[in-house]
């Protein structure tokens, strides 16, 4: 494993809360770890378990789903649906031998730019401690 292993995290952010929070973090110039890559979806409820599995299959070191706080969903209850799926997905991932820390669901509202930093930095730190999930060979190129 290389000295400074930079995990790559695929993040699915909902268009109305977490994606805006990330934008807010930007406009407030809050600095955080450059390890996430955001995929915008309209609602955390749109995140199909296949997306998560696919990301891991293609070598993501972590997957982060960001949605509105319970009760605040722009589509009333999409985030609850997401929550239910995530629970199932967690079990599946555990069976696949993927550590808990690599997969997270977070509620981040449009006002919580700072929370984006906190969550991402924390996740990166934890995953860095775990080390790369896929053979290090693949990493060199990045």
């Amino acid at each position: 494993m290389p000295e400074t292993f930079e995990p790559k995290i695929v993040a699915f952010f909902c268009n109305w809360c977490t994606y805006l929070a990330a934008d807010l973090a930007g406009t407030s110039r809050i600095k955080y770890a450059p390890n996430t890559r955001v995929v915008r979806v309209m609602c955390s409820g749109r995140v199909d378990p296949q997306f998560v599995l696919d990301a891991f299959a293609k070598g993501a070191d972590g997957v982060l789903i960001g949605g509105c706080h319970p009760g605040d969903c722009h589509y009333q209850e999409g985030n609850y649906k997401a929550l239910r799926r995530v629970e199932l997905l967690r079990r599946l991932l555990r069976q696949m031998g993927i550590e808990e820390e690599r997969f997270r669901l977070e509620w981040i509202s449009a006002a919580e730019g700072d929370r984006v930093k906190v969550v991402i930095n924390d996740m990166v730190e934890k995953i860095r401690a775990l080390g790369p999930r896929v053979p290090a060979v693949k990493k060199e190129v990045a």
Partner: protein, 664 residues
Amino acid sequence: MSESNGTIRVGVYVCHCGTNIAAVVDVKSLAEYGASLPNVAVSRNYKYLCSDPGQDLIRQDIAEHKLNRIVVTACSPHLHEHTFRTAAAAAGLNPFFVQMVNIREHSSWVHEDKKAATAKARDLLRAAVKRVARHEPLEKVSIPIHPAVLVVGGGIAGIHAALTLANAGKKVYLVEREPTIGGHMAKFDKTFPTLDCAACILTPKMSAVKNHPNITLWTYSEVVEVAGYVGTYNVKVKRWPRYVSEDLCAGCLECLEACVYKEGKFPDDFNVGLAKRKPIYIPFPQAVPQVPVIDPDTCIQFKSGKCKKTCIDACGDRHAISFQLEEKTEQIEVGTIIMATGFQTFDARRVPYYGYGVYPNVYTALEIERLVNASGPTGGEVVLRDGSTPKTVGIVHCVGSRDENTNRWCSRVCCMYSLKLAHLIKEHTGADVFNFYIDIRTPGKGFEEFYQKLLNEHVHFVRGRVAEVTDWALDPSEEGKLVLRVEDTLAGLVRRIPVDMVVLSTGLEPHADAPDVRRLFNITCSDGGFFLERHPKLAPVNTFTDGIFLAGCCQGPKDIPDTVAQAGAAAAEALALIDAGYIETEPNTAYVNEEVCSGCKTCVPMCPYGAIAFLDPEKKARINQAMCKGCGTCVAACPSGSIRQHLFEDEQIFEEIEGILTYA
């Protein structure tokens, strides 16, 4: 599908955004990298892509290089997606062949390590190029706008918005929680910096609202349910009973005189508890509507049923008063909504060291507003609780503002209203007035001049945040007084200043129930709980929910001029929609591929809008495109993968994931 036929030719455009992006992300190499990606025909970088020449650049390339996909690597899609889609459309390309890559908010602004930021930008660009290849031409859906408007809140913001719309000939429903409209402004005596009388400005507008044929005014009412979407909102309004019929009452107010209570006995909210009212009352003489309210919690008839009901006798054969009246619910349909729900003042009890509620002569600014008001409880006399006139007064700024322990924001109006009160108190009592401030903020037309005027009126200005208000005397001269301990940071020494009256300039904060209101209307909040505007500069009165606009202090602390201006703006935004007659929305709806649908009905309960119908003969699900809001929950839920979503097709997202993770 003509444009997507044949070879895919992508144009990549990397924006410098001046130095916003270029200073951190290596835009040149990023553009070169773009050129190296599959399907990319052109890849450029440019200083300001959103500018006219920038957009021209894209338009020309579409024509010259036969581009059929555009990837703009710049800022957040929330900011300029629309701009670039329009540009593409102008060049004859379907606007949905454009994909934004957000390397400003999500990279250059949040990362310091240039290499890492550039690497991130590359990944995101690669993902977008792969994704855009899968895009398909779509048509915008346009939804008709119902011409009626709902205005929530009858303060100066709501009043102004309602009148503006009504004067433009639009139907307006104005809903106010209190028994009268007027809001906080109705409580003020004078307004800064011109010191013109608040009532003289407000009350004519209030009666204009009452008399306007296009305005339906519902006071003592509350919005309890909001269904639907931009264009047609179905709103339920609960109307509490006043026990005095608005239709029958002539506003003679004889019932008030007649009440068995000869004197007011219960704290009067309008006078923030400084006066007493009867169980049947009218908030203030110029209230609109001029219809009394009976408060069932204090009215003898309601409590015991054994009242002489002198009020009913007084009303005589008008029969306006009826204890049987019940609350009713009105159902209305509107196309747009203006939120003007206002603010509440900070509760000074939250800062015990200022002694509010402990020492009787510590007042809040709002209480003083009532005291100086000619139509207030003391008829404009500024007196202490014991009726005597204060000889020295201390005004404490920033109470519940700029404080990490309470509210961290600046409430914007306190400096100026404190100056105003200082002037009025001096005028009414000739007292020696001290202002204790952290910074004096007078950034408005005529504000600084007003500050200068106060300085010349020999009002004391002590720069320092008061540490505490106590009644303990360290010196005989302090006996029986309230003592403020403060560092005079400019003189550079600690001072103890004995005063007769302390005024706490409490800040503005969102209503306690703002979170519930927010959920009810499905709009978002900013840090601190004020309602969040779509963009501070590009869309200051829009929310993230189409057709709902913000006016006044529910969006953040504001003075009256700014509030009125914003209310006008909100009204204009609503008018723009109404007069256009329709709004175009994202065609990001879900649809069913009926060949594949197994008819398992999993999706049906998933949809919060009941947009999914199950067709019995065919045993297939079908999605009503008009009702679908495009959340995509059903898409993710469908076991057979037969439900798909425009703009967020599975393939597109898989490509994006692949693009992010494949190390080219």
